[in-house]
C-alpha cells in the first residue's frame, strides 16, 4: 500500500473496511468458547460491525453520543467499540471491576446514553446506579445468563441488536451505502475514544483522543517493532486501560493481526500458550506474579530438578542478556546456554506461554531491574516503554539491542521530549490527547503554552540519550537531612522478592525511611505450609514472628543494595511494618490498575505511620474493609513494628 493511501485511512473504522477488502480471509479475532477457539475473519467482522452499527442507530445512537463499554475482553465488546466509532459515537470503556459507585461517577460524567456490558453482574451494577446517571437509556449485554426475567424494555442482548441491524441491512443497498458513507465520512479530528485515567492522584479524568492522532501513533509504533498481519496477541488487560486499547485494538487495526480473547481472565495464561502470542504486554505486576509462581513450584520440585534449575538460571544470568543483545560471547558459554535452553529455558517459556514471543513490553510502573533481567536472560525479548493515557500510551520505548533495565529508552518515533527546569518530563506526541472531557481548567494545567504535555514524572536524559524516570515528580522528596528520597525506587526493590506483594515507603521530610509491607499470600502461604506454620487468615500470617524475620532479611538485602548507590544510601529503610490487611482497590488504597495511593494510605493508617517514627514496638490499628459484594466490615489488629539493620555507604567502585 502506498504511503498516501495509508495516510487516507485516518480513522479505525476506515482501517476495518480496508482489511475487509485486502485481507478478507485472514483471522481478525478469536474467542475461546466452550473450550474451542472460534474465529472471525476481517470480512466477517466488517459485516457484523456494520449490522451492529445499524442496530445501534435504530436504538437511537447518534454521532457524538457516548456509549459505555464494561466487561472483560470479548469480541462483542470490541465490536461495540468499532460499531460506535463507525457511527461517529464515542466509546467510553470503564473498568469492569469498578464498584457501582465509581462506575456511576464515570458514566454520569461522560453522560453516556447507552452501555454495552458483559453480563448480569454489570447489568445489576448499572441498574443500581441508574437514577444517578439520568442520561443512560439502553443497556446492551453479551452473556444472557440470569437475565431472562429482567424487564427488557431498555435491556437488549447484543446479538439481538446485531440481528436487528442485519434485517435493516437486507432492506436494500442504500442501507449498506449509508453505513459505508458514515465510515468514510469520519474525520481525523473526530474523537475516537474517551479513556478515563485510573486516578493515581485523585478522581479519574476523561481523556479525549482523536481518531487521526490515535491511528498515526499506532502506525508509528507498529512500524517500530515490525508488527505485521501474522502476529498474534492475547487480549487480557482491562478494556478501559490505554494499554489494551492501543497495543491490541489499535495495533490490530493498523496491521491486520489477530486479537485473541481468552475464555475467562483465569485461563489467560493457558490460552496464551495455545495461541502462541508473538506480541505481548504486561505490567510489572504480572511478571512478578509469574516469577513468584515459578519460584514456588521450584521449591516444591525434586532435588535434581531444583539443582538443574538453579544452575542454568545462573548461566542465564551471566550470558543470557548478552546473547539476546547480540554481544560477543565465548563459544563454550553459548553451548552451555544452548543446553540450558533445551533443559530449562525452553520448557519454562512454554509453561508461561512465551515460546513464540517476538516482542514483549512492560510498562505502567517501573520494573525491578532484577525482575527485568530474569525474563530477558531466558531469551524473551522484553522491553520497556514509558507512556501515559494522555499520550495515547507511547512516550519512550526501547529499540531492539538497546535494552537496559534502568532506562525506559529514547523518545518513541515522532515524539518530542524535553525536561522542564524543575526536572519534569514534557512531551509532544502524534497521539497526544486533545483535552480532558468537561475539564478545561485541568487541561490547561497539564498543557504548557507551547503545546507540550506535562507528565508529572521527573526524569532525565542519560549519556546515551535514553530517558531515566526517577519517580512521580510530586513523590520524589527529600529526607530531613536533605538526602534524596524516591519512594517508588525503594518499593520496587522490595517487590522483587516473591514474598513481598506490595510496599509503601514513607520518609518525606522525616529523619529516616520506613515502609509498610504486604506479604504475598501465595508465596508466604506456601512457605507456611512447608514449614508447618499454622495460620487462619492473612492477618494472622502477616503478624507471625517468623514472617517478620523473613521480611527483615529482605529489607536488609535492600538496604545493602541501597548502600551501594551513593545517591540513595541515605534512604535505607530503618523500620517497617507488615500490614494486617491486603491493600485493595475496593478500599481505595490502590488504583484500578493496582498502583498504590501513597498519601491515602498514609492517612488511613496514620497510627501506624506514627508508630514507625515514635520508636514504639507495637501499634493498634482499626480499619474498614470492603468485601467483594460491597458490604463493609472492620479489621482491628495489634501489629508489631520491626527495626531494620542499615549499612554504611559503600564507596563507589570504578564503574
Amino acid at each position: 500500500m502506498s504511503k498516501d493511501a495509508a495516510d487516507a485511512l485516518d480513522t479505525f473504522p476506515k482501517w476495518l473496511a480496508h482489511h475487509a477488502s485486502v485481507r478478507p480471509t485472514r483471522p481478525a479475532m478469536r474467542f475461546k468458547e466452550a473450550g474451542i477457539w472460534q474465529a472471525w475473519t476481517w470480512a466477517e467482522i466488517y459485516v457484523l460491525v456494520q449490522q451492529y452499527a445499524l442496530g445501534l442507530e435504530e436504538l437511537g445512537l447518534k454521532a457524538g453520543d457516548r456509549i459505555a463499554i464494561v466487561g472483560t475482553n470479548r469480541p462483542k465488546l470490541y465490536w461495540s467499540i468499532m460499531a460506535a466509532q463507525c457511527l461517529g459515537a464515542i466509546p467510553v470503556p470503564v473498568y469492569a471491576d469498578a464498584v457501582a459507585d465509581e462506575m456511576a461517577y464515570v458514566l454520569d460524567h461522560a453522560e453516556v446514553s447507552m452501555a454495552a456490558v458483559q453480563d448480569q453482574e454489570q447489568v445489576d451494577k448499572l441498574i443500581s446506579v441508574k437514577d444517578r446517571v439520568p442520561s443512560l437509556v439502553h443497556i446492551l449485554y453479551d452473556e444472557p445468563r440470569g437475565l431472562r426475567d429482567y424487564d427488557h424494555t431498555h435491556l437488549h442482548p447484543i446479538g439481538a441488536v446485531i440481528d436487528m441491524g442485519a434485517v435493516i441491512l437486507k432492506q436494500g443497498p442504500d442501507m449498506a451505502s449509508r453505513i459505508e458513507a458514515a465510515i468514510s465520512g469520519g474525520k481525523a479530528s473526530d474523537t475516537s475514544i474517551m479513556l478515563y485515567t485510573s486516578g493515581t492522584t485523585g478522581r479519574s479524568k476523561g481523556v479525549i483522543l482523536s481518531a487521526g492522532g490515535s491511528v498515526q501513533a499506532c502506525r508509528d509504533t507498529a512500524a517500530f517493532d515490525g508488527l505485521k498481519e501474522t502476529d498474534e496477541v492475547i487480549a487480557y488487560l482491562p478494556l478501559a486501560w490505554v494499554g489494551d486499547h492501543y497495543l491490541n485494538y489499535g495495533h490490530a487495526l493498523v496491521t491486520g493481526f489477530c486479537i485473541n480473547c481468552p475464555e475467562s481472565p483465569e485461563t489467560a495464561v493457558e490460552d496464551r500458550k495455545e495461541v502462541g502470542a508473538t506480541f505481548f504486554f504486561a505490567p510489572p505486576r504480572v511478571f512478578e506474579g509469574m516469577l513468584t509462581r515459578i519460584m514456588i513450584r521450584m521449591e516444591d520440585a525434586g532435588a535434581v530438578k531444583r539443582k538443574m534449575f538453579h544452575h542454568f538460571i545462573g548461566v542465564a544470568k551471566t550470558w543470557g542478556e548478552k546473547i539476546l543483545n547480540g554481544e560477543s560471547v565465548p563459544l563454550t558459554a553459548r553451548l552451555h546456554y544452548g543446553l540450558g535452553e533445551l533443559l530449562v529455558y525452553g520448557p519454562l517459556k512454554n509453561v508461561m506461554g512465551f515460546s513464540n514471543v517476538r516482542v514483549g513490553y512492560t510498562a505502567g510502573e517501573a520494573i525491578g531491574p532484577e525482575l527485568f533481567s530474569f525474563f530477558r536472560s531466558l531469551g524473551i525479548n522484553l522491553k520497556q516503554l514509558y507512556g501515559q493515557t494522555e499520550a495515547f500510551l507511547y512516550v519512550t520505548c526501547q529499540p531492539d539491542g538497546q535494552i537496559r533495565a534502568d532506562t525506559v529508552g529514547p523518545p518513541a518515533p515522532n515524539v518530542e521530549i524535553k525536561i522542564s527546569e524543575d526536572g519534569e518530563l514534557l512531551y509532544k506526541s502524534p497521539g497526544m490527547f486533545t483535552g480532558y472531557y468537561k475539564e478545561p481548567d485541568k487541561t490547561a494545567e497539564t498543557m504548557t503554552p507551547d503545546g507540550f504535555v506535562r507528565t508529572g514524572d521527573s526524569g532525565f536524559f542519560d549519556k546515551s540519550g535514553h530517558i531515566r524516570i526517577i519517580d512521580r515528580a510530586k513523590d520524589v522528596g527529600k529526607l530531613a537531612s536533605g538526602a534524596l528520597f524516591a519512594p517508588k525506587y525503594i518499593e520496587n526493590k522490595l517487590k522483587f522478592y516473591p514474598n513481598v506483594k506490595e510496599a509503601v515507603a514513607f520518609g518525606q521530610g522525616k529523619d529516616s525511611v520506613t515502609v509498610f509491607i504486604n506479604i504475598d499470600m501465595t508465596a508466604v502461604g506456601n512457605w507456611a505450609e512447608r514449614n508447618n506454620v499454622a495460620y487462619g487468615s492473612y492477618q494472622e500470617l502477616a503478624n507471625h514472628p517468623d514472617v517478620y524475620q523473613i521480611i527483615a532479611g529482605h529489607v536488609d538485602e535492600v538496604n545493602r543494595s541501597l548502600a551501594g548507590e551513593p545517591m540513595m544510601a541515605a534512604a535505607q529503610i530503618h523500620r517497617f511494618i507488615v500490614l494486617p490487611k491486603e491493600l485493595d482497590a475496593d478500599d481505595g488504597e490502590l488504583t484500578r490498575t493496582q498502583k498504590v495511593r501513597r498519601s491515602f494510605i498514609a492517612d488511613r493508617y496514620a497510627p501506624l505511620v506514627d508508630a514507625l517514627y515514635s520508636g514504639a514496638s507495637e501499634a493498634d490499628i482499626s480499619t474498614e474493609v470492603t468485601f467483594e459484594d460491597g458490604r463493609k466490615g472492620k479489621i482491628a489488629a495489634r501489629v508489631r513494628v520491626a527495626d531494620a539493620k542499615t549499612h554504611p555507604v559503600i564507596a563507589e567502585t570504578a564503574a
Binding site: 474451542i36 475464555e263 475467562s264 483465569e266
Partner: protein
C-alpha cells in the same frame, strides 16, 4: 429435561409412611412428604436425624421395610441406584466422590455415560457414530463448565483442586445427567462464606435455568431458609415439621430440636 407430562408444581415424588431399619436400629420411622416439580426442597435435622438415609431411599440405595415411594406417579419396587439414575435422579455426596486422578472434564463426562447409546463396536474405535456422539456430549459438558465457571480447571486432575471447587465439579457431574430430580447431600459442608455464596447462586441458577427439581440436605439453617421453597424437618428419624421456611422457623418443635429443651 421436562418430566413426562408433569407441570411445575405437580407432585414429582411422594414418600408415604416410609420406615427404614438396620437390624434393630430405626433410622427412619413413618415419614411422609412430597417433592413438587420445579421446587427447591430442603431436608434438615440434627445429626443422626436420618437425612442421608432418606436421600439414599429416594435414589434406590436403601430399601425401606415399610411404606412406598412414588416417582412420577409410578410406585417403585425394589431397585438399584442405576435404575434411579436412568429415571432421571442424580445426586452428589456429603464427602466428595469424584475420580481424583481424572480431570474435571473427564469427571463431568462420566455423568453422560447413561446417555451414550452408540454401539460398543464404534465406541471401541472412537469413530463414526461414537465420535459424533462424543462431540454432542462434549458440547453439553462444556455448557456446564461455562455455567459453573470452572473453565480454568477444565484439564486439572480433581485431586489437586481445593475442596470448594471439587464440590462444584461434583455438582457438574450430576448436572451432566440432565436430571429431573437432583439430590444434594450437604452441598455446602466445609465451605467458607464466599464458596457458600457461590454455591447458593449456582443452586438457584440450576433451578431457574434448567427447571430442575432439587432436594437438598443442609446443616446451615440460614442457607436453607434463604434457598428453599419448602422445608421438611426430621428428628430421630421422625418428621417433626413440614412447610415453608417461615412456618418451619416458627415451629416450637423445630426450635426445641435445634436449640435443645429442658426435660
Amino acid at each position: 429435561m421436562s418430566g413426562a407430562g408433569l407441570g411445575k408444581g405437580d407432585e414429582l415424588l411422594k414418600v408415604e409412611n416410609v420406615s427404614l431399619r438396620f437390624g434393630g436400629v430405626k433410622a427412619i420411622t413413618d415419614v411422609s412428604f412430597d417433592i413438587r416439580k420445579g421446587e427447591i426442597r430442603a431436608i434438615i435435622g440434627p445429626n443422626g436425624a436420618g437425612k442421608t438415609s432418606m436421600l439414599n431411599c429416594i435414589n434406590g440405595f436403601y430399601h425401606p421395610q415399610e411404606g412406598a415411594i412414588t416417582y412420577k406417579g409410578i410406585k417403585r419396587g425394589r431397585m438399584r441406584p442405576y435404575v434411579a439414575a436412568s429415571q432421571g435422579i442424580a445426586r452428589t455426596f456429603q464427602n466428595v466422590a469424584l475420580f481424583k486422578g481424572m480431570t474435571t472434564l473427564d469427571n463431568i463426562m462420566v455423568g453422560r455415560t447413561l446417555k451414550m447409546s452408540s454401539p460398543f463396536f464404534w465406541q471401541l474405535w472412537r469413530h463414526g457414530p461414537a465420535m459424533r456422539e462424543e462431540v454432542e456430549h462434549r458440547r453439553f459438558v462444556e455448557e456446564i463448565i461455562d455455567f459453573l465457571e470452572i473453565e480454568h480447571i477444565r484439564k486439572v486432575p480433581v485431586g489437586k483442586l481445593p475442596y470448594g471447587l471439587q464440590k462444584r465439579v461434583e455438582l457438574g457431574r450430576a448436572l451432566a445427567m440432565q436430571p429431573e430430580l437432583l439430590l444434594l447431600d450437604e452441598p455446602m459442608a466445609g465451605m467458607n462464606l464466599e464458596e457458600k455464596e457461590d454455591m447458593c447462586r449456582f443452586i438457584l441458577d440450576v433451578s431457574s435455568q434448567y427447571g430442575t427439581t432439587i432436594a437438598l440436605i443442609e446443616h446451615d439453617i440460614g442457607v436453607v431458609m434463604d434457598l428453599s421453597d419448602r422445608v421438611v424437618v426430621l428428628e430421630y428419624g421422625r418428621k417433626i415439621a413440614d412447610g415453608t421456611p417461615d412456618v418451619v422457623k416458627a415451629d416450637q418443635k423445630v426450635i426445641d430440636a435445634y436449640l435443645g429443651v429442658g426435660h
